[in-house]
């Protein structure tokens, strides 16, 4: 799709300068996960681990098919299983591939204090540049989907890269290629949105009136989208946020108080300097010394 190099950044973390904008006509990519076609086989997890050379620990059985139990620095995508009884009393097994949503307005990137640690390419992929990461975990606070994980070993944050290394040479991500039932599709965001529309109509024809596309506006839309049978209740899909957006706290902490704080500090320094050059130091004069000796001397006499 595109050669993902420094010139292709459209957003860079902790950077006051505007990224290069000359190449402003870039096809945005998107990964569409059609939960109604997903059989929860974890081929995407397996392919992701194999392609990215990730091997987390062999865990234990914890009460469901969710293995490993949570995203980790070396678990970039994960099937989350939810046994749900619908209104008709029939059981539905909702299985959702969790992982980075590659938001249009990434909370991680906004929260990140390290310059160049998180970048967004022109095609929409949000990537962690590990060598610039300082391991502070702000990205975890910024992300509305609770995705980034900071490693306890190298103190760097990790998440799905949408296989930027494959996409940059024109291949599709590893999970997309592996998915046996074609539940994960990859292409331009326009194509994927249109294809999702067809899938939603087809699902509606099968009795899922509330089928819909999950492309949350709260984060400006995402480059990883879901087709859900029950788009009116995303939370039943193992906690998919109803209306994800960057937290107001993060917004405020990363927005207004930055300039205000700097201004406040600069003002104080300036005021002090101005006071110094106008009022000047408060020095002790001879009279004060005299009063002091006088006081001491009289006290000496009383006690002697």
């Amino acid at each position: 799709m595109s050669d993902l190099q420094a010139q292709d950044f459209i957003r860079i973390s902790a950077t006051t300068l505007t990224p290069p904008t000359a190449r402003n006509h870039e096809q945005e990519v998107a990964k569409l996960i059609d939960v109604s076609r997903c059989i929860g086989c974890k081929a995407c997890q397996s392919a992701c681990m194999e392609w990215n050379n990730l091997r987390p620990e062999v865990g234990h059985f914890e009460g469901s098919y969710d293995n490993p139990m949570d995203l980790e620095p070396s678990v970039w995508t994960l099937m989350r299983f939810a046994e749900w009884e619908n209104e008709k009393g029939d059981l539905e097994w909702l299985i959702r591939k969790d992982g980075c949503m590659h938001c249009e307005d990434p909370g991680c990137l906004k929260a990140c204090p390290a310059p160049g640690a998180i970048v967004q390419y022109a095609n929409g992929i949000v990537d962690f540049i590990s060598e610039n990461c300082i391991g502070c975990g702000y990205c975890e606070k910024g992300c509305p989907f609770n995705i980034p994980r900071v490693s306890k070993v190298d103190h760097k944050s990790y998440k799905c890269t949408l296989c930027s290394d494959r996409v940059t040479v024109g291949l599709e991500p590893a999970c997309v290629k592996a998915c046996p039932t074609g539940a994960i599709m990859f292409g331009s965001k326009a194509d994927m949105t249109e294809w999702a529309g067809e899938r939603v109509d087809e699902l509606k024809s099968r009795g899922f009136e509330n089928a819909g596309l999950y492309d949350p506006p709260g984060v400006g839309g995402t480059h990883v989208m879901y087709v859900l049978q029950h788009a009116d209740k995303p939370a039943i899909y193992a906690g998919l946020p109803e209306d994800p957006h960057i937290s107001e706290f993060v917004g405020f902490w990363k927005g207004l108080i930055k300039p205000v704080a700097l201004a406040g500090m600069a003002f104080t320094a300036a005021a002090a300097f101005l006071h110094w050059i106008t009022v000047g130091p408060n020095t002790v004069d001879a009279e004060d010394d005299h009063h002091a000796e006088e006081l001491i001397r009289s006290a000496k006499e009383k006690s002697a």
Binding site: G40, C41, E57, I95
Partner: protein
Amino acid sequence: MTNTWQDIKNANVVIVMGGNAAEAHPCGFKWVIEAKIENGAKLVVVDPRFTRTASVADLYAPIRPGTDIAFLSGLIRYLLEKDKIQHDYVRAFTNAGLIAKEEFGFQDGLFTGYNEETHSYDKSSWDYELDDQGFAKVDDTWQHPRCVINLLRKHVDRYTPEMVSRITGTPQDKFLQVCELLATTSEPDKALTSLFALGWTQHSIGAQNIRTMAMVQLLLGNIGVAGGGMNALRGHSNIQGLTDIGLLSNQMPGYMTLPSDKEATFNDYMKTRQFTPLRPGQISYWQNYRKFFVSFQKSIYGKAASAENNWAYDWLPKLDLPMYDIIRAFEMMNKGEINGYICQGFNPLQAFPDRGKIRRGLRKLKFLVTMDPLDTETSRFWEDFGPQNPSDAAAIQTEVFQLPTNCFAEENGSLVNSARWLQWHWKAAEPPGQARSDIWIMAGIFRRLKELYQKEGGAFSDALMNLSWNYADPASPDPEELAKEMNGRTLADITDPTTGAATLKAGQLLDSFAQLKDDGTTVSGCWIFTGCFTEKGNQMARRETTDPRDQGIAPGWAWAWPANRRILYNRASADLAGKAWNPKKPIIEWNGERWVGIDVPDMPPTAAPSAGVGPFIMNAEGLGRLFARATMAEGPFPEHYEPLESPAENVLHPKVRSNPAARVFADDRESFGAASDFPYVATTYRLTEHFHYWTKHALINAILQPEEFVEIGEELAKEKGIAQADWVKVSSKRGDVVCKAYVTKRIKPLMVDGKPTHVIGCPIHWGFTGQARKGYGANTLTPSVGDANTQTPEFKAFLVNVAKSNGPEV
């Protein structure tokens, strides 16, 4: 499979019953999803558990393990009662109108001819009434009371929806919804495909499970059509190939069978393999048996096989029993009748039922040879691994050889997939360390034995001495040489009878098994593979991807047996006049002179429809069999029999509870548990993240499913005070497994004969070697009894008890 994997996308209804396609064959299951999307297909899943296949199904119905025949017989009754069958298809292509013998009958649980002592039938009464020319009598008006269709109607009459629900525990409304949906495919242009696997085969009544569905498909007219067929989703990558090449106790390559003691001479042997047609004008292709047999004997014994010595007939081992299956092998082992056992890429300690009995058998061996890329449990059965494999090594006198072999990526060769495609693969790397190919090892053993016999003589060794072995490198025969050997050659020039031109020079590779002769002038190691490696080169290596009308045939990709035919019985995809039932998806049609279409016709190319050549060319009557004559052990019609370990009585015929023709060894019968001690029905199954007992050696798969567990319904767990992910002990009369409990909504109690019956699910993938957590293995629990026809063990329905535990005693 009768059809191809991609052909599944042409189905209008897909039933996954007796299998879990989404978990066991995910990339094949893609085509079910394609059917749903492009074809608006409906997916029906009938399974004791709500599986990941069910998670994308349009209709799910629970069923008690081991009662599939009751369900399907009820379905047949529904189809016949509602007259939802494809009349023209059934009339023309099945034996519905043929008339059975007078003596045939069925009385409270038993067909005619049952012998109590031998637990088997005298099947002479299970046949058609023949006329004076020896052809089967037929009444196409279906009036005759002994027409097959009428006998079938009477036979299934007892399976009313109430009775089905009473036996299977499936709620009646769900059962009738399934019947309704499947009945819609009786339309000529609608197709139902049946995807099944071990969920049907691993029962004491396994073969009949599949037969019942085949009868349903015949009644609905779905065999041989696009999107139809009986599709067995085979297990291993080359299980189809090894079945084709006859690596089974009584089998020879190409589904020929080894002689038995009763066939002393070659003529006796051939007498029972005449396959003379039972209706005029039928092909009955097995009539060419002698050509295949002679060509085969010439292939493996070369000049030493001649007309004079009946083509070295006596050099083939004869069987005194129907078969020496693996259950019998471990029975013999326990009785000390087997001294040596060679496990080539097979891990019986994990794969076979009643793990205790397997371990006791292996202890009695003098020597055990394992050939495997991985460190298998079987090769270390003698080592103590704590509670998962308690053992006193010193007391075990077995010599064990653990031979390292290469894996798929380290060899050239071909594999046959479930859809009968022979596909070549290329070597990508050298095997690790001193690992060698299985071919090299078998050649090594063979040449050493031959040398010993040459030096020392000994028991009869003519077969060994004269075995054809003309490979460039006798120590390591090349896979291409072996492939050519299976394909076969002509030893004399072949001329085309019509044109007289020489088609093949002596010594050249044959193009098709039609060229085989029974006079010793042709050789073929496996007649059904002839055509896979011809003078035009290795057809198995073809990678041509074009697919006419994108209908899922891909005729140019690799090569399918027989004769590159991709959909079997495809003649049945056209009506009497040779026009396609489903004009949108024709396969072959009669154009006036020949059969043409997108697949190799399963029919003599120039046999006009009017000639009445039946589409089932391998059967003597050329017709699909609703009435199975004498081919099945327990009856020409399927009948519901309870599993050997069952919580319920047989409400249809209490006196005959389980399969009367099942072979049960005495010690195995003692080890069957009673419902009073073991009240819950258990079933074993596979998870999609693991392949049997291999992938616990692969780190990623061990991560995806790290630890052994059993699935318990929420109601049962509440009853037993078992919380989520607690340790539990699951016990059968044969042994205990201690593992975690997965308390789930996906298994609900079934009302069977008025009693709530709980089902417990036991995945099989854990053992005591590899990366994953140590496990006991589900086969610690399972009974050692098999299907009456194939001896496939009954892994899918047995009895257990379950209780809280605090983990394996270390």
